[in-house]
């Protein structure tokens, strides 16, 4: 089956990224990684939404609960 333009572009992008990573992907394992890459692109798009300044990577966990558990 001939891949559509979108799939062909995705595959070219995939090949370039794998080359940059220095990976020689065994041919019979490529389809599974390519499917995973397609899903990754869907997920990374979800991550890019407006955030507040408070949403920074440090201090991921709220310490409120920790303080509540501490004994006097």
């Amino acid at each position: 089956m001939v891949p559509n333009q979108e799939d062909a572009a995705l595959e070219r992008e995939f090949d370039a990224l794998m080359a940059m990573a220095g990976a020689e992907v065994p041919a019979d394992r490529k389809a599974g990684i390519l499917a995973g890459y397609k899903d990754l692109k869907r997920m990374t798009a979800l991550l890019r939404q407006p955030r507040t300044e408070a949403a920074e990577p440090s201090n991921i966990y709220s310490l409120t609960g920790f303080r509540r558990m501490r004994q006097p």
């Binding site: 995939f14 990573a21 599974g32 499917a35 990754l40 869907r42 990374t44 991550l47 949403a55 409120t64």
Partner: protein, 486 residues
């Protein structure tokens, strides 16, 4: 002549009472478990290594100590087993991988050191998905574990052997690890209890990492009480684990046996019920469980959570980034030494950008605040689904492309909260269904209290796989066990 007593059905607490009363010996209990493993594990593939000599030596020591008045606590003389990513000094630890097939660590992981100090009895090392990811894979040195409820079905993963061994009554408590649901998924599919403790409560030192900021260590057990007693042994600050929390430890059994009066529980029905592939029988099972918990005295209210896909994307991006970082060198130089699914899942990490990972960590902060400050600032716990359907058949997995994960477990690896997976009934085909009970950070006693009350009221735990009857196994997929014995 009467039939030999099924001592594997004794809870950890009851076995402990009998060990102290002298009506059961650690050696007798251990021999019984080893006999069950010999009889049943060739069908289940739960163990990759049975440490028979070590187990008998542990049991003998426990027997002498208990007789001599030395009592090391609730696990003294009680058998346990470890997922094969837990380092054990002098005992092969393979991560179920060709890459570590001859790996014999020189030091114990922190959890194994705690079990040893508690006088427990190591039965062996358990099957896992390779490096706790991928699976189910038939292109590894050991076959995948099989579901004791139906051997043609998947156990879930990655703590596959842990769930199969506990569900089959080979051992009452087995350690698993959970990076995106690897304790709770197998517990759900195999009908056991699975406890992912709060991030930082149980040391991960010496457990082969998959994702530094998402990995949790915890037990799979037959009952909630077994989980609480195991946690009494394995929890605690470890200065050599960078994520370990230095906090006072509660008594994890303190809430067991109480009703649920005074508790307020959040029930995010739309969060799970609208998930793609969600089955009516899972939703009905959750609705019935929520009603039963309300009948036990808790106030249960429906709430809204952010879209599951946000949690999932956040967790998956972090997981594959961290896993790729850990395995990068071997993935690039020894691709064919990994199983197909393992390699395919991990290699996706090579295509992430720094911005992707940073955005995931920013979202993680936001989602953690919503769960911890907003939802659990108002409610004592959350009850939600574990997955949309019971365990799939092995032959439903595609050959070339790793299957998509459908479990709803990742949100609480993202947030780090304690979660207990517990059975809520059975699907029409006889496979277990279940739910998750999510608590505040380091509030395992409340999670265990809710779970124990529900377990006692529902009675699901009393139904076990019929493995003691002759088993008819069809299909050619069953492999001869490739395990070795120490």
């Amino acid at each position: 002549m009467s039939a030999p007593e099924a001592v594997h059905e004794l809870s950890i607490a009851e076995a402990g009472r009998r060990l102290r009363a002298g009506t059961l010996s650690p050696s007798g209990l251990t021999e019984h478990c080893l006999s069950r493993i010999a009889a049943l594990d060739p069908l289940l593939n739960a163990f990759v290594l049975v440490t028979r000599e070590r187990a008998l030596a542990d049991a003998d020591r426990a027997e002498r100590e208990l007789k001599g008045g030395v009592d090391r606590g609730p696990m003294h003389g009680i058998p346990y087993a470890l997922k094969d990513i837990y380092a054990t000094a002098g005992i092969r630890t393979t991560c179920h991988s060709k890459l570590l097939i001859d790996n014999v660590p020189s030091e114990d992981c922190a959890v194994e050191a705690k079990f040893k100090a508690a006088g427990a009895v190591l039965l062996g090392k358990l099957a896992t998905h390779e490096f706790a990811i991928g699976g189910p894979s038939f292109d590894l040195p050991f076959p995948p574990a099989r579901n004791p409820w139906n051997l043609e079905h998947f156990t879930g993963g990655s703590s596959s052997g842990s769930a199969a061994a506990v569900a089959a009554g080979l051992v009452r408590t087995a350690m698993g690890s959970d990076t995106g649901g690897s304790i709770r998924g197998p517990a759900f599919y195999c009908g056991t209890v699975g406890l992912k403790p709060t991030y930082g409560l149980v040391s991960r030192r010496g457990v082969f990492p998959l994702s530094y900021t998402l990995d949790h260590c915890g037990p799979l057990t037959w009952t909630v009480e077994d989980a609480a007693l195991t946690l009494e042994v394995i929890a605690g600050f470890d200065p050599l684990d960078p994520a370990s929390a230095d906090i006072p430890l509660p008594h994890f059994t303190s809430g067991l046996g109480q009703d649920l009066a005074g508790l307020k529980l959040a029930y995010p029905r739309s969060f799970f019920a609208t998930q793609e592939g969600m089955t009516e029988e899972v939703v009905a099972s959750l609705d019935a469980a929520a009603q039963q918990i309300a009948n036990l005295g808790a106030k249960v209210e429906e709430v809204e959570l952010p879209d599951f896909e946000l949690f999932n994307a956040c967790g998956r991006v972090i997981l594959i980034a961290e896993a790729y970082a850990i395995h990068e060198k071997n993935l690039l130089t020894r691709p064919l030494d990994y199983a197909r699914y393992t390699y395919q899942r991990m290699m996706v990490g090579a295509m992430l950008s720094a911005a992707d990972l940073t955005q995931a960590f920013r979202l993680r902060r936001e989602l953690s605040l919503i769960i911890n400050a907003h939802i659990l600032g108002t409610y004592d716990a959350i009850i939600t689904a574990n997955g949309p359907t019971g365990a799939p058949r092995f032959d439903a997995f595609p050959a070339d492309v790793p299957p998509k994960t459908t479990l709803q477990t990742m949100p609480f690896n993202v947030t780090g909260n304690p979660v207990l997976a517990i059975p809520t009934g059975f699907a029409k085909g006889g496979l277990p269904l279940g739910m998750q009970i999510v608590g505040r950070a380091f509030d395992e006693p409340t999670v265990l209290r809710i779970a124990a009350a529900y377990e006692a009221a529902s009675g699901w735990i009393n139904k076990r796989p019929a493995l003691d009857r002759p088993i008819a196994v069809g299909g050619a997929a069953l492999h001869a066990p490739a395990r070795s014995h120490q």
